[in-house]
Symmetry: C2
Subunit: 317 residues, 2 copies
């Protein structure tokens, strides 16, 4: 099957390219390389089943040209601003890179009669529900970040476009996703900080921010497993793992793996890492577990595995 | 207080101008006159508390100039594509006129430190929930129209902007709104059709589409009553009336008031008026009733009153 992976040079999209090719699909990958990188796809350049367009999905005319030329059968939409902390100061980034890309992609799907969509949504659509266990039926979704708002708006668009054009759309609400090729986030930041100063680590908030971290291979495996579900309309799943990991625990695991002792943690204070950050959330995973998927790695295991891989990779470079 | 009414020459916005002025507020009205009309505000031109800008809220620079010059204290956002049937064929209209206007208005509020917002949302955010009584806690909002999607996306933006900028936002989810200055919709269409051919009336669908119709004065009274509620964050209410009116009943009332007998109804068939139309919905009104508001007119009364007023107005012109 010919697939179109939009955001295909990014952290998640590039892993998805690899998996789709391994499954025997053709992959046309599109990325504006603003957060994605050619490094993530350079191993695919000689693969005849792979092609790449450096193009911005916010430009509907250019995107439309790609749809017309390539005639994909399945669209994986992973194009978004993924640096949530950055967009807290500039919501225009989310309007353009997260919402408008979705609108354009759905419009092109309608125009070129593509019926199957995968969309990467997020826990941020729920907002800060404190200790409520979040399931797919949790009411009053009220995002507190511009990122969460643009993703929830995208879900609303997918709902209407799917109804109006008979799309079959699969939506996963991701937790924090980690693994090789990570470009930002707490693990990435901490490694940088400790490599430059191994005696002190500045931690945003009180370090008690607690979230589930999913290992990239688990997430990709879920996409591959569910992509052929032929449910009409929109299917939404919380995608998560067993357990959660607090920020201080991440620092502890990192210090262990780097062999550092006596690192002083310097907390900036407050509950959230930044305004718009949801400090804690808990997923109910009954729906996706009942559908036959379970993550291989717990949250703590995903954190440790990612740290080891990033540290090893840096040693190699 | 200085208020900014965006969409202020439209059906609802123009009635809101009148009410705000009557309450002693200053009104700065903005409209691109695409669906709104100068006729709706010409009686206010000599009022020193009223001013008008013909400007499109989709142009953020021009909108920003108005905020800078006028320094409003309260923004009423009624700018949207309101012709839902028209946008079913062109979702770009909703992206631009409904979602982008919201994003721009919220951005300007943040920039110019305006803390109070009223937003006109819609029953269409729920999607087609069949016989479920819709309350504000109904989960899985899944709009089937581009209009509903753009409004739900707007609600998501309001959630994030309100949190990030400490706005106090009041959101009413309107049902069908009718009364003088109506520019489209079933009553408007039927009057036109019967005035051109009083012996036959073409009715979209099976005529059993059943919705609550609110009279414009009731809706405006609710906005005025709730606008000073100082709840932090976002307050969402279903705004509705007692009872519902089916399309065939509207035709019957209209024939009665026009003195027409023996009109043949020609049904196009199917359950919805057009693809994306929710054929029936029922609101739970407990939340707004508990807050001390109740509509003066039932749905049937609102329909009859509107018909009489539009017919009388046509005789005068």
């Amino acid at each position: 099957m010919k697939t179109l992976v939009i955001g295909g040079a990014g952290f998640i999209g590039s892993h998805l390219n690899d998996a789709l090719l391994k499954e025997g699909h053709k992959v046309v990958s599109v990325d504006n390389l603003s957060l994605g990188s050619e490094i993530n796809i350079r191993h695919l350049v000689s693969n005849s089943n792979f092609s790449f367009y450096q193009q911005d999905a916010a430009d509907i005319n250019k995107l439309s040209d790609i749809f017309e030329k390539e005639q994909p059968e399945y669209v994986f939409h992973l194009a978004a601003n993924s640096d949530i902390q950055a967009s807290a100061k500039n919501p225009e980034v989310e309007y353009r890179n997260t919402y408008t890309t979705t609108f354009n992609i759905l419009s092109c799907m309608g125009k070129y009669n593509v019926k199957k969509l995968f969309f990467s949504s997020t826990s941020a659509v729920y907002g800060d529900k404190k200790d409520i266990i979040l399931d797919e039926n949790t009411p009053n979704l009220s995002p507190i970040s511009y990122y969460g708002a643009a993703k929830l708006g995208s879900e609303a668009l997918i709902s209407a476009f799917s109804y109006m054009n008979d799309f079959s759309s699969l939506v996963f609400r991701f937790p924090n996703v980690i693994g090789p090729r990570l470009t930002h986030g707490v693990i990435y930041d901490f490694i940088h900080k400790l490599q430059s100063n191994p005696s002190e680590l500045k931690i945003l908030g009180d370090g008690k921010q607690t979230k589930p971290y999913i290992y990239i291979a688990d997430l990709i495996q879920a996409i591959i497993q569910f992509m052929d579900i032929d449910d009409a309309g929109v299917s939404i799943y919380n995608l998560g793992v067993e357990g959660n990991t607090c920020v201080t625990r991440i620092a502890d695991i990192l210090c262990e793996e780097m062999g550092l002792t006596n690192v002083t943690y310097d907390f900036t204070g407050g509950k959230g890492g930044w305004k718009g950050d949801v400090p804690k959330f808990y997923y109910c995973l009954d729906k996706i577990h009942s559908a036959g998927w379970i993550a291989r790695y717990t949250s703590d295991e995903a954190v440790r595995k990612t740290i080891i891989e990033i540290l090893n990779n840096r040693k190699c470079n």
